[in-house]
Amino acid sequence: MAKTIKQINEKIKKGEVVVATAEEIIDIVEKRGIKNAAQEVDVVTTGTFGPMCSSGAYLNIGHATPKIKLGGGRAYVNDVPVYTGFAAVDVYIGATALADDDPRNKVFPGEFKYGGGHVIEDLVAGKDLRLVATAYGTDCYPRKRLETWINIKDVNEAVLFNPRNSYQNYNVAVNLSDRFIYTYMGGLKPNLGSANYCSAGQLSPLLNDPYYKTIGLGTRIFLGGGMGYVVWQGTQFNPSVPRKENGTPCVPAGALAVLGDLKQMEPEWLVGTTMQGYGTTLTVGIGIPIPILNEEICRYAAVKDDELWTQVVDYSEAYPQGKKGSLGEVNYAHLKSGKITIQGKDVPTGSLSSYPKAVQIANILKEWIKKGDFLLSEPVAYLPGAETGYTFRSLKERPIEN
């Protein structure tokens, strides 16, 4: 019998809800069958903890006396530039922003020890941060310079707003060249010396709901240790990709834009991150509950690592040059075994996404729901499916003639 989110929430309030993680549901389905599992389990919790570059936070720092208008001016937090193109005292900290005097890749590979992602971690950790701003001055906002300490507990709003997180599947990165390369997928040894992947596989939110049948706009989630929401499809969203019979995409596909109150979050789940020779980013912890409304949704949520496939891509030539083509298809059970075979060669694997942390997130969310602290929300709209024709385009470059 099908269930509704409303009925599940009633069970949560009464303390009668049955919750399993996306790992536990696999065994339950194997032992009890889909039909029983779908009836007995109300919610499946997922989790992921990996570097997600399209992340950032906005702050309203409050008005100084006399007033200053940061909009159109410049501002830095701990020397990292923050975006000021809003009103007077709203700024946005992007995860990949770097101090003006950071040497970047001038001495290769650059170290990238501190950037926007680290500012966000320090902010969430409750540290005092140095804000330095310059503005042009107006009749109503006369001040031209501001230097002050700021702290998350004193600012008005502090909101994590990530335009693209929680990718539904991702490439396995390898290096066919004869030199070590430094990429956003980590350092890769030459001549197929190593392979890096980045997904929680069977615990990953969108791989457990491949057709976005439950996760939509307004879905309440675990975000950075607090509660947040799915607010839109992630940028580069692409439902129109090849999929396996179980519905899961075998290339990068969907993604989520997420938002939440940074003041509730914890630095353990929002960690400033460095990719040597590449730049800075933010590692984000996300957990999404999947209401088991029927057998079909239960079957999707019970997907296993050996049923989830992805492509091996060369990051020395094919990826940077935008050349299509895969060196092979592997599944997450292969990847987690520690080695995969590419072109007849055994290649050791490493993961950027932490599976133990993903397990921890799925369990925290499970506890929140069981204790009645977290109710499921009904999406107000759904993410676009392949039937809408929504897809991901490359830039159509048009040279500008002078």
Binding site: F49, G50, P51, P109, E111, K113, G186, G187, K189, G193, S194, A195, N196, V271, T273, T274, M275, Q276, T281, T283, K336, G338, P348, T349, G350, S351, L352, S353, S354, Y355, P356, K357, V359
Partner: protein, 135 residues
Amino acid sequence: MISKRIVLHFPHRLAGQPIVYRLVKDYDLEFNILKAYIIPEEEGLLVLELSGEDKDYEQGMQYLTEIGVKLQPLSQDIVRNDRRCSHCSVCVPVCPAGAFVVEPLTREVHFHDDKCIACGICVGACPLGAMEVRF
């Protein structure tokens, strides 16, 4: 028999002495150089794997201490900040010594510092900055 990996810090004044030669000749120790560098006018650093009879090893270490070489077990060189490590496993394939091993059940990454050759590759490779060099 004993086999240990140690870090030797040489003061400037010992730069001209054939210290490793003495370890072989006088104490019958086998050596394998894992890493060496010299900061001119300051100090030299040598990472060695030394094997031999327990007694010979002990006397060899005594000789080094007496002439003024500072000794340190190798595992003290690279340490993992366990609070910062997320057990992602990016370090696993890049470590040339195989010092990081994923536990198959929990998928936690174990750091075997006895295998570590203190090359420092993991320090740059760790995205969360969990690997640190300590002298």
